[in-house]
Amino acid sequence: MSLDKTNEEKIIRTICNSHCGGVCEMKVHVSGGRIVRIESGGEGETSHRMCARGRAYRQRVYAPDRLLYPLKRVGARGVGEFNRVSWDEALETVARELKRVKDTYGNAAILHFCSLADAHVVHHTQAFHRLLCQFGGYTAPWGFISYEGLAFAVGTTYGTPPAAYTHEISQRAEVYPKARLIIMWGWNPVDTYQGTRTPFSLARAKEGGTRFIYVDPRYTDSAAAFANQWIPIRPGTDVAALTAMSYVIVKENLHDQHYIDTYTTGFDMFRDYVFGLEDGIEKTPEWAADITGIPAATLTALAREYAVTKPAILEGGYAAGRTAFGEQFHRAIVALEAITGNARISSGGRAGSRALRRILQIPSPPNPVEMNAPPRWNALPYRSASVNSSARVNVNLLVDAILKGKAGGYPADYKFLWLSNTNYLNQLSEVNKGIEAFQKLEFILVTEQFMSSTAKFADIVLPVCTFLERTDFRTPKAIEPLGESRSQLQICEALAPKLGITDYSDKSDKEWVEFMMTKLSEEVSKAATAPKKEAADLTSEITPTPSGKIEIYSQTIAEMKHPLIPPVPKYIETWESLNDPLAKKYPLQLITPHFKRRAHSQFDNLPWLRDLQKQALTINAVDAQSRGIHDGDMIRIFNDRGEVIIPAEVTERIMPGVVALPQGGWYNPDENGIDRGGCANVLTKNVTSPAGAFPSHTALVQVEKAEE
C-alpha cells in the first residue's frame, strides 16, 4: 500500500480500539507521512467521541521509548539489557527455539497468550493461533481476565455467552434513559468507559429523571457524576447484600411470581437458601449488615425500591466479579433480576464491534494439542470444544502452570512462552511469583510496542506497530510502520516459512479484511432475517440451558459437583476477608481499580496523560490518621507477596478499612525488590475463583509511612 507522503494534509477516518471496551471514531490528520493531529471523528450525539487516551495517541505513536527494532536479550532476565538484531536473526532464533521445544517436549510445552492491547480483528489472537496450529499446536489459555465470573454466571444461568446478556455499547443510549432506576454496583464507567457512549447515555438518563444508586467501596467519579445515593460496601461481600435484597423482596411478596413460574427454574431452592431452610441462617438485612457494612434499613429500602420501580436496571460491573467467589456475584445479580422480572435478554441488536470480533476471525485448522483432550470439568455449554478443552490453562494461572507443570496437575510442562498484546507479568496477579516462573522458562518471546515489565524478561522482543500503522477491519492504515516495527500478521507471515509452514497466508491485510467482510455480510443478512425476540417471549432458543429456562438453580453447575460452586447463588466468605486471621497482620482490604488515564497498563508512559492523575494509594482519612499518614506522604503497602512504595492520596472518597491502588502502574523494582512503580499486582494473590475468575479485588495489605 503506497501512502501519500506529500505535505498536503490528509484525514484518515478510523476507530480507536485500545482495550477499554470502546470503539471511538477518530480522524487522523497526516502530512508528509506523519500524524500531525488527531480529531474526534464523530459528529452528532450518536457518535462515539474519543476519551483523553485516544486524543493522546499521537504521543503513543511517536513516543521516544517505542520499540522500533527486534531485540535480543544480553543481560539477565528482567534487567532490560538488549541488543538490536536484524529481523532475520530474531526470527531465526525464535524458529530454532520453537522447533527445539517442539522436538524435545512436544507442542503442548509451547504456551501462547494474546490479549487485547491494541489488537483488532486481522491482527489478533487468530493470526497467532493459525500459525501455531499449523506448527502442530500449542497450549492456549481459557477464561476472560476481565469478566470470567460474569461469563460463568451467564453461561450457566442463561446458557449463553456474556454478550447476549450485557448491554452492547450500541444499545446503551437506548436502554439507560428508559430506566426509572439504575443501580450501579461496582461499576465505574466514567473511568473505564466501555465506550464513551456509556457515561453519556447515563447522563441522558439522569437528565430524564432516572434515579441512580451507587454501590461501591469508593465514591468514584461515576458516583460523583450520577449518584443520588452512595452505598459504600466492603469488598467481597456483595453477594451477602444481594441475597438480603432477595430475602426482603420474597418475604414482602414483591417478587414477580408469574415471571418466575414462566421463565425460570429453581426459585424454590434459592428461596430455601435465602430463608435459611438449608443452613439455618436467615439471610436478613441484619445478617448482611454485619458482613457488608451496609445498615439493614438501607438494604431493605434498596430491595424495595428495586422491586417496585419499573423499569429498573441493576448493572453489576465486572469488578465485583473479580473477587474470590466472583461468579457468585453475577449469579446473585441474575437471580435478583429474574425474581423481580427484570431479567434482560434479547436475541437482537447485538451488532457492536466487540461481538463482531468473534465473527470476524482468520480461519485456522484445529489445535492438535486439544484434539484428544476431554472437556474440562467446568466446561460451559455455549463454548466451543476448543475453549472447553482440558488441554487449556486458565489465563490467570499461566505462571502457576509454568512453575508446577504436570507434577502440579497441569496438562503439560511448559518451556516456551509467547506473549503478545499483553503486559502479562504486570497485569496478572502476584508479580514476584510471575518473575519466578519467567526465570524458569527456556524461552520467552514477547511482541510489544514498548519495553514493558513483561518484555524485560523476554529472550527476543519483536517490535509491533500501532493500529494506525496497519490495516484492519474498519481501521485503514494512516501511516507506514515506524522504524522496523511490523504488524502481528506480518510477523506471523515472516515466521511461518522458518517453521516450515508454506500456506500460512495468501492474502494481504486488505484482502483478509475483504474476506471477513464477505463473512460478515452473510452473518448480517442471517441476523436480519431472524425474528427479534425480547424478554417477553423467552424461549429455549435464547436461554439454551438444560431446562430451556433461566436457571436460578443451575443444572450445569450441579453436574460440576464442585463444593464451592453451589447450584443456587450463595454468599461464601472470601479468603483474605476481614475475618481471616491474616487480617491481624494485614488489616486493610486492597482493591485495584481501573485508572482513567490508562487502558490497563497501556498509555502510562505518555506525558500528555501522565500529569492528569497521580499513581497513588487511595486511603480514607481515618486510616491515614491512625497511621500518621498525610496526603502525598510516601507509604509502604505490603503483604507476604510483596511491597510497593508510592505516595498516599488521603481522601473521604473511600470506605475506611479499604485502600485502592489503580492497576496498570508499571512494575519498577528498586535494588531491594520493592516496587516503586505502583504495580498493584505485586500484592494480589495468584489464584482464581472456583469457576476461574481473576480475583484482583481480594487481597489484604498493611500500609505504613515509608521511612525515607
Binding site: C24, R37, I38, E39, S40, E45, R49, M50, C51, A52, R53, R55, A56, R58, V190, T196, P199, F200, A203, K206, E207, Y219, D221, S222, A223, A224, A225, W230, P232, K596, R597, P607, W608, L609, R610, D611, L612, Q613, N620, A621, V622, T651, E652, R653, I654, M655, P656
Partner: protein, 199 residues
C-alpha cells in the same frame, strides 16, 4: 459580538479529554502551560459527599484585566468576536507575567523555558475560520461544552453566571455561562485539585 463558552457542569465527569485534545491540537507539551484545566471540588465527609468538576480556561472577558497591564500591548481583544489573543512576538516573556498577576482565572500560561512567551486559550480562532468549534467543544464525549456568540449560548442553554468552584467577576465580565452543579446540602469543601497541576 462577543464569543464565549457554555459549560454544563452537571455533565462534566472530569475525563480530561478537553485537556488532551487541546494539547494535541495546539501542540502544547506536557508541562506548566495548559490552555485548559479541570478543577475538582470535593466536599463533605465520608459517607456524605459531593464532587464537582469544572473546566477552567481563558473566558475572553468583556473587560479583560490582562490587556491594560501588558507593557507592550501584546494582548488584544478582537473586534469581530471579542476573542482575546496574544502576539507572542511582542510578549516580554516569563520575566514579566503581569498579565498572569492580573487575571483572576490564571488564564495566561507560561512554559518551563526561562524566556517563555505567554500562551493561552484563543478559543481556537483557527478552527472558527474553518467553520469548526473549538477542539475542546468538538471533542467532549459528554457534550458538556459549547462555544459561540455568548448571547446565543445564554439564550439557548442558560444564563447562569455561577458554578461550583467558579466566582464570576462583574468588573471584567468573563464570557462564560453555565449549567451549574449544585451542592444542595451545603457541605464543607475538603479538597480542591487543579489538573494538570499549574506547577
Amino acid at each position: 459580538m462577543q464569543y464565549g463558552f457554555y459549560i454544563d457542569q452537571t455533565r462534566c465527569t472530569g475525563c480530561f479529554t478537553c485537556v488532551v485534545a487541546c494539547r494535541d491540537w495546539h501542540d502544547v507539551p506536557a508541562g506548566p502551560a495548559s490552555w485548559i484545566r479541570i478543577k475538582t471540588i470535593e466536599k463533605g465527609k465520608y459517607p456524605d459527599l459531593f464532587v464537582a468538576f469544572l473546566p477552567i480556561t481563558c473566558y475572553h472577558c468583556l473587560q479583560p484585566n490582562c490587556i491594560p497591564v501588558c507593557p507592550t500591548g501584546a494582548i488584544i481583544k478582537r473586534d469581530e468576536d471579542g476573542i482575546v489573543t496574544i502576539d507572542r512576538e511582542l510578549c516580554l516573556g516569563a520575566g514579566c507575567q503581569l498579565c498572569l498577576d492580573a487575571c483572576p482565572y490564571d488564564a495566561p500560561q507560561f512554559g518551563p523555558e526561562e524566556d517563555a512567551k505567554m500562551q493561552k486559550c484563543d478559543l481556537c480562532v483557527d478552527r472558527w475560520a474553518e467553520d469548526k468549534k473549538p477542539v475542546c467543544v468538538d471533542g467532549c464525549p459528554m457534550w458538556a461544552l459549547d462555544a459561540g456568540p455568548l448571547d446565543e449560548l445564554r439564550a439557548k442553554y442558560s444564563d447562569a453566571k455561577f458554578a461550583e468552584g467558579f466566582v464570576y467577576s462583574e468588573d471584567i465580565a468573563p464570557s462564560v455561562t453555565f449549567k451549574p452543579k449544585q451542592d444542595v446540602k451545603g457541605l464543607v469543601t475538603q479538597k480542591i485539585l487543579i489538573t494538570p497541576p499549574a506547577l
